[in-house]
């Protein structure tokens, strides 16, 4: 179950994973231990609720990130400076967001064939974005290096 949790957690933006990853997993494990002792049905309900929470939480985290609403002012992460991205980078980023949103929507509606198509497109868009970032020398946070 922890492996599945980790796999779904990868849907979150990297900054969220860096900031909360270990903590969220530790809380999940603590809660899982408690629900395991309540019987199989309670544990299954708990796990399904956790997975649904991760998928919807990841969608929200991406929406917040891509809308440019920075977060996490504390000492762990600094707010990235706002920079104007070159047009083709912005377009690639939008394509990635659209595919990721489609992927999350398909998973949350149990449309797994559709999800696979979105996953493939999302991978393609991510690679394209990576190449463009290299071309323009842009760090992942969006800051020009």
């Amino acid at each position: 179950m922890t492996l599945a949790y980790r796999a779904l957690f990868r849907l979150y933006p990297r900054d969220h994973r860096t900031c909360f990853g270990a903590e969220m997993q530790s809380v999940f494990e603590e809660a899982a231990q408690e629900h395991r002792s309540r019987g199989r049905a309670a544990y299954l309900r708990f796990v399904l609720a956790e997975y649904a929470g991760l998928v919807s939480g990841a969608g929200t985290a991406w929406a917040v990130k891509l809308a440019g609403r920075g977060y996490l002012h504390d000492q762990h992460l600094a707010r990235p400076a706002a920079v104007a991205l070159p047009g083709e980078v912005q377009e690639a980023q939008d394509r990635l967001t659209a595919n990721l949103t489609g992927l999350l929507h398909a998973i949350s509606h149990h449309q797994f064939l559709k999800a696979r198509v979105y996953a493939a497109e999302e991978q393609k868009a991510r690679e394209e974005l990576r190449l463009l970032r290299e071309k323009y020398n842009i760090a992942e946070s969006g800051d020009l290096v």
Partner: protein
């Protein structure tokens, strides 16, 4: 509101919110940390290392601004409750 009386770490928040809601609400970790992230962003809470636990745990506490916002929200709810009760009584009369 769960942080009003004392700082808490993630799991303690889930348990406390469950108790506060008479076991009607059980937050998933995804939902909890989404909310914590928004509150951190608004500077209504802050994160710190809790030293008095056996394990290293990040805990959360209200900031002065967070406490002020909580008071405003509780006042708003109190006012809403008053209006709701008054309207019910008006209908009964």
């Amino acid at each position: 509101m769960s942080l009003a009386s004392q700082p808490r770490h993630g799991y303690a928040l889930i348990k406390d919110i469950e108790t506060l809601s008479n076991h009607r609400v059980r937050l998933s970790t995804g939902t909890l940390y989404g909310a914590l992230r928004r509150l951190l962003d608004d500077l209504w809470i802050e994160r710190f290392e809790q030293e008095d636990t056996s394990r290293d745990k990040q805990a959360y506490r209200l900031t002065a601004e967070g406490r002020r916002q909580l008071q405003l929200e509780l006042e708003r709810l109190k006012q809403l409750t008053r209006v709701g009760i008054a309207r019910l009584r008006m209908n009964e009369a």
